[in-house]
C-alpha cells in the first residue's frame, strides 16, 4: 500500500515490462523438465539390470515429481510477487519508486516533481528495442541520489510524461509564489489605506 498526501492524485502507474518477468522465470522451464530427464535417464541407463527397486517405483517417482513441481510453483510465485510489487507511481506531486527485493527486502523512495533536474530514457540492444522497454534515469536536485529504474515499458513516453508533470509542478510553484507576493502587496496597500484613513 502506498500512502498519498492530501489532494494528491495518482496520474501514472508503471510496472516493469512483462519480458523482465519472463526472463527471470524462464529458467524454471528447464527445472520443470528435470524429473522427466531423470525418468528417461533411469530408463536408458543400464542401471535397470544392476539395481532393482523393491516397491512401486512409478508411485515413488510421482511423489517426488509432485513435490518438485510444488517447489517450483512456489518459486514461480515468489518471482511473480517480486515483479508485481515493483512499481513506479507518478502523482501530481511526487514520484514514488517501490522496489521489492526478494520476499524480505523492500525499498520505497519518493521525491517531489519539482526536484527533478533531468530525466533520461534509454533503450539498449535488440531485445529492448523490439519489445519496447528500457531504463529510466531520474536525476534530482541537491544531494538526493539518482534513480535508475530498469525494465520500464515505453521509456520515452514515460520520460515525456514525467517531463510534462515536472513543468506543471514548476508552474504551480510559480503561481503559488506569485500569489504570495500579490497577497503581500495587497496587505501593504491595505495597511497604507488604513493609515491614511486614521490620519484623515
Amino acid at each position: 500500500m502506498i500512502r498519498l498526501r492530501d489532494n494528491e492524485q495518482v496520474l501514472l502507474v508503471v510496472r516493469k515490462h512483462w519480458f523482465v518477468f519472463v526472463a527471470e522465470a524462464f529458467f524454471l522451464v528447464f527445472l520443470l523438465l528435470l524429473p522427466l530427464l531423470a525418468w528417461f535417464a533411469f530408463q536408458l541407463l543400464p542401471t535397470n539390470s544392476l539395481v532393482t527397486f523393491d516397491g512401486h517405483f512409478g508411485a515413488l517417482m510421482m511423489v517426488i515429481t509432485s513435490m518438485w513441481l510444488l517447489f517450483l510453483w512456489v518459486f514461480f510465485f515468489i518471482i511473480w510477487t517480486d515483479y508485481y510489487l515493483d512499481v513506479l507511481v507518478v502523482t501530481n506531486q511526487q514520484i514514488i519508486d517501490v522496489e521489492q527485493k526478494g520476499l524480505f527486502s523492500r525499498e520505497i523512495s519518493n521525491f517531489r516533481l519539482d526536484r527533478i533536474q533531468d530525466v533520461t530514457a534509454e533503450m539498449d540492444g535488440i531485445i529492448q528495442t523490439f519489445f519496447k522497454f528500457g531504463t529510466l534515469e531520474i536525476q534530482t536536485a541537491g544531494d538526493d541520489r539518482n534513480f535508475l529504474i530498469f525494465g520500464i515499458p515505453k521509456p520515452f513516453e514515460v520520460k515525456h510524461f514525467i517531463s510534462v508533470q515536472h513543468d506543471a509542478a514548476i508552474e504551480r510553484l510559480r503561481t503559488v509564489s506569485l500569489s504570495a507576493s500579490t497577497l503581500a502587496e495587497l496587505r501593504d496597500e491595505m495597511h497604507g489605506s488604513s493609515d491614511e484613513q486614521i490620519r484623515s
Binding site: 500500500m1 502506498i2 502507474v13 539390470s49 544392476l50 539395481v51 532393482t52 527397486f53 523393491d54 516397491g55 512401486h56 508411485a59 515413488l60 510421482m62 511423489v63 509432485s66 513435490m67 513441481l69 510444488l70 517447489f71 510453483w73 512456489v74 510465485f77 515468489i78 511473480w80 510477487t81 508485481y84 510489487l85 512499481v87 521489492q100 520476499l103 523492500r106
Partner: protein, 79 residues
Amino acid sequence: MFDGINLPETITVALDPRVVWIALVIFGILYAILTAILVWHWNTFSYSKQTFIRASRIYYIVSAILIVVAVLSATYFTL
C-alpha cells in the same frame, strides 16, 4: 588364499513407506510456511484486491491438485 569378492548380480533397493510419508509431511509444513509468507505479502502490499484474489485462486487450485497427486501416489506406494 584370496579368491575374489562375490558381488551379487543385482542390487535390490527397498524404501520404507514411512520415509516417504515423513518427507511428504516435512515438505508440506515448509510449503505451508512459504504459502503463508506469500499470502501475507499479497495481502499487505498488493495494489489491487482483485489481482490478489485472482493470483491466490490460481495458486491454491494448482497447489491443491499437486498435493492431491502427491498424497495419492504416496498412498499407492504404501499399499
